[in-house]
Amino acid sequence: MSAEQLAFYFFASLTLISALLVVCMQNLVRSIFLFFVTIFSLAAMFVFALADFIAVTEVVVYVGGVLVLMLFAFMLSNKELLSGLQNIAGGFKFTHLAGLLICGGMLFLLVSAISAADVVNLSWIKNGQAISENDNTIHQIGIHTMTRYLLPFEVVSVFLMMALIGAAHLSRRERRS
């Protein structure tokens, strides 16, 4: 087993274990901070798929934006929530069993579909031109953004502005008259 594979499986298991802990943790603050670990190891896995720019963007957007927002919303909305959450700890409810069954079924379905699809031998993957380690992907992404994917780029820009206005409108203080 080469060093690349070793590192890849290390980060993969780190991703899955920390994601499981995020889901199972009763303390919400801890689970939000564990979300950091998941995002970082996921970004490391993007690097193994030769997408370094995506990895950096993921870290910047999630750690810089999403996590701060989540912590902010949590601080503004908890008060009695934290104590309430810790009291429920340990109880195993029917919804958990049902959720576990649905997720296990979904996982089985997805894994069997992936193994049935035999993705490694698809023609476009076998014959297509793969990105090599020496390629400058940032250069490529810059060119693609302004040529082939200009329309999706503009649509995303407009969507981002709509989301900005919508979020600002939703979270404004209502005027009492």
Partner: protein, 101 residues
């Protein structure tokens, strides 16, 4: 070089963890985290398949767009959660069961 199917199996597992969080959690923020896991599983698939698409670069470009959409979605969802908290004094989705007021 890691085979594509390993990426896909890991992203399938991450998707199922996110689905479990969405189905069972009783806190809107944790449900949001579950949705983020599901979106990130999709992004991992995009990126892993995009490695074999050097000419068009579709995988990486749409992974970027998906990250942007996820961030925008989180911003709006958290604004909604704060509003819900202001109305109901709770963010447990089981207890938010009225449409009036």
């Amino acid at each position: 070089m890691i085979p594509l199917s390993h990426f896909m199996i890991i992203s399938a597992a991450l998707f199922c963890i996110g689905l479990f969080a969405v189905l069972t959690k009783r806190n809107a923020i944790q449900i949001l985290i579950g949705i983020e896991f599901m979106i990130n599983a999709a992004i991992l698939n995009f990126v892993a398949a995009g490695r074999f698409d050097r000419v068009a670069g579709g995988g990486q470009m749409f992974a970027l767009f998906a990250i942007v959409l996820a961030a925008a979605g989180v911003a709006v969802a958290l604004a909604i959660i704060l509003n819900v908290y202001k109305h109901f004094r709770t963010i447990n989705p089981d207890k938010i069961d009225t449409l009036k007021n």
